[in-house]
Symmetry: C2
Subunit: 192 residues, 2 copies
DNA sequence: TTTTGACTATTTTCGTTTATTAGTCAAATA
DNA sequence: TATTTGACTAATAAACGAAAATAGTCAAAA
């Protein structure tokens, strides 16, 4: 990662998060970064690919933060799940460019990001499955049937909350109660 | 409810659900119903008020259907909650005009329906609170703290699922697993 | 009291011009 | 060779006035 590329990427991220993908021009990004537009196209082949990198970097950061949570092998499964969910929502709340991809606009915008989102979904499903499996192995959780399905369900639940929390700006208001809901949910799968 | 008014209302509902609020004209509705446009304005003062009536009738139907569920006083609380949630999603899946109000479009469309939606939310919160209270009284549920807050959380959860299920058209694919998720949730609050 | 359709006022669409923006490339730089 | 530059072109979007469509009105009729 050269300094120029880094500079362009962070400037792009800031500008996109301020004006959104469609209201941001490549000229504007280049100018803000004090670089020529040619450099922008040398490093990122198109506007879509640039935005892709920006969203990808937000998701990469999210993954890092989440990974640190389930690496704590001493914690109780229920606590790990709780921490995972809370942290996930906390980071997503500041991932402004990811949030833009949630808008179900008219003509299926952001289709070029489908694979990025899909990859993240699969990653998350994997991690949650890991946590659940560990919990069952430790005799802390009770999950009859396919554990993968439970992981998928939890993910749907989390993703379902994204619209009310981030697009309708209710994160601040609801996050306090969110703990409550997670409490119920984790109690439902807890053996103890 | 005169026959003309009824005819206009059902025609409006059909047309709106086919083309959406903005792509449907009042002329089109009047013509489809084989009535003069003046009649449309005699019964409903504006296009917005007409759409309001249409959505209201969908929500009224939903209320009726849901009411029949928690009137069964012999059923176990957990089963009632499960039935409530499943039926709610089933009816909403066919409430096309309500679904249109879920789209968070650019300029805060459908603001004129805010009070209708708010009223429905309050009604639902009330009903869920009732069910939970009964469950606690019957010693079937365990809910320390404010029961109203739990009801609100359940509602947020249900409303959070509306976007993935209806706007992203995943209802058919996910409804099977939905039961699973409700199972976990209700187990979390179950005493038995 | 309800229904009608011709009528007006307001919005939206359309076609054209103008301006902006995405993307290219040969030359310069390191 | 790898990177950076900015003038350049092609594609897209904004601006705008004219034409069409649509929301809403109203006097007459049923």
């Amino acid at each position: 990662m050269t300094p120029t590329r880094q500079k362009l990427l962070t400037t792009a991220s800031k500008t996109f998060s301020k004006y959104g993908f469609y209201k941001t021009s490549m000229d504007e990004i280049a100018k803000s970064a004090r670089k020529a537009k040619g450099s922008l196209y040398y490093h990122f082949n198109s506007k879509e690919l640039l935005f892709r990198e920006v969203v990808l970097s937000e998701l990469t950061f999210l993954k890092q933060e989440l990974t640190s949570i389930f690496e704590d092998h001493n914690a109780d499964s229920r606590d790990i799940i709780r921490a995972y969910m809370t942290k996930r929502m906390m980071i997503m709340n500041i991932s402004i460019n990811y949030q833009e991809t949630l808008r179900p606009e008219f003509y299926e915008f952001y289709e070029f990001l489908n694979d990025v989102i899909l990859e993240m979904d699969q990653w998350e499903k994997q991690q949650i499955t890991k946590i659940l499996n560990r919990g069952v192995a430790n005799d802390e959780l009770e999950l009859p049937g396919d554990i993968g399905v439970y992981a998928e369900m939890l993910l749907i639940f989390l993703k379902g909350l994204e619209t009310p929390l981030f697009l309708k700006g209710q994160y601040e208001r609801l996050i306090a109660n969110f703990d409550n809901l997670i409490g119920i949910l984790t109690k439902g799968i807890s053996k103890i």
